[in-house]
Symmetry: C2
Subunit: 272 residues, 2 copies
């Protein structure tokens, strides 16, 4: 069964998409063809959205599901004339919120994504540049500024996790790759010792690691199951020996890894 | 007026946060103290969440606002006993969705973030590494693989935008900094000419650019208002001359810049 889903927004559409993805993931048996219609900030654009939704309704011979974060009353009214099932986030929740807070909401268009003021923008940019400058053990002299230092073997997801921590939470996250040299005598690299409290370890299933490395260097010793298993086993021994909090990232998304690190290290985000 | 807001989830909490931020941004006059309680996957953890919410209710002498994406019936029931105003995303929308689709939802815990299967994970990781390898004009020989190549002056937001495009949409985004050499004779750098169709330009208000650059190199020629104005003016002339689609990023968040590029270039995302 194939159905259409639309995300309609006066802003980026990210809020509507995020909620829609969550809800649709509860219907594993249905395949959805998904379309985002962002920046609907006029009656004309709202009517255009209705036209596209109605075309899908006709093609599918079934009502599309429409997730809307439109806040302007006129635009919402137009959208609700479409032949889709409209799930209207603001209708559902703004009224109860107004009641609870005793305040009228501003109904301001294009407000939906919060990270927009200049201070937040700077925090984010600085965090991203910190992650880049301190990626892959490139530099270690700024570790006193780091909120967290991720360690693990090559290709275990350290870099994307650091970037996600920077973009989403404004955190200063460095990462340092552990290699055979560190495993031979089972000790922490010198540059990490003074910052032991900031360390967080990632582990990964050796077969998965081997598959990921093979994409990059097929047939190499680096990607061989034997090498991957050796590294992962030594890594685990190192985490145990130095009592380093760690996480198996094999089955987790980058969002999950990042939020678990936040919780396990008790980190305070710099961006809400 | 200060109120408490909670985001309660059986997963990362990102869906609840995203929706909550959108809704709360409509109440500019109220200041919220925000707390995320992720990974609530048992009755005990649900009861712990209730305790924390009730403590805030007592402290504030007002009901906290609680955004919940819990899907398990027992956990939801426990949460609803708290002294907060619970806005339950799944109660509000799952039932209408089940009716419309004619399917029972799975009510599966921890499903809420969709990007978790291995293929999606690989697309994301590869996109992030592409952005890093092709950052700041470092390499230009992989431009045939790029979905988009961002151009602009130094510190106009190219790198964070490329990383966001990679993490959020799985797109291969390179970036290339334009400098005085390019402006002198108003021509495109040789390495960009074969890829003209992939170019997208960022511009920025010169005063803002000067402020951002001053944080990095205060008092330098690079950060001077005069230099920034000269670069931005020449940049605009270059975009006009070569008819390059572009955007003023001054007042936009990274999400907004990214989604507008998607729309203006007609790019198809590799991740939903």
């Amino acid at each position: 069964m194939k159905r259409s889903a639309f995300y309609v927004s006066d802003g980026t559409g990210i809020t509507a998409e995020t909620l829609g993805h969550s809800l649709l993931s509860q219907f594993g048996s249905v395949e959805f063809s998904q379309t985002t219609i962002p920046y609907v900030q006029s009656n004309d654009l709202a009517r255009e959205a209705v036209t596209r939704i109605n075309q899908a309704a006709e093609r599918d011979d079934a009502a599309p599901v429409v997730f809307s974060t439109l806040v302007h009353d006129d635009h919402r009214e137009i959208l609700h004339t479409c032949k889709g099932r409209v799930l209207d986030l603001f209708t559902a929740f703004l009224q109860p919120l107004e009641d609870e807070l005793g305040v009228r909401s501003s109904h301001q268009v294009g407000q939906s994504h919060a990270i927009r003021d200049q201070q937040a923008y700077r925090i984010r940019i600085n965090a991203v540049h910190f992650a880049l400058d301190n990626d892959d053990g490139a530099r270690t002299r700024h570790y006193d500024q780091a909120d967290v230092i991720l360690i693990g073997v090559s290709r275990s997801g350290k870099t994307p996790t650091c970037l996600y921590l920077a973009l989403q939470f404004g955190l200063f996250a460095a990462n340092y790759p552990l290699t055979e040299d560190d495993f031979d005598d089972l000790r922490l690299p010198d540059s990490l010792v003074p910052h032991k409290d900031k360390l967080f370890g990632l582990t990964i299933n050796p077969d998965r690691l081997s598959a990921i490395r093979s994409e990059r260097k097929a047939g190499s010793r680096y990607a061989s199951p034997r090498q991957c298993e050796m590294e992962v086993r030594a890594l685990q021994a190192l985490y145990n020996k130095f009592n380093i909090p760690h996480l198996d990232a094999t089955e987790l998304s980058i969002e999950e890894i990042s939020t678990r690190i936040l919780a396990m290290k008790g980190l305070t985000r710099r961006l809400q």
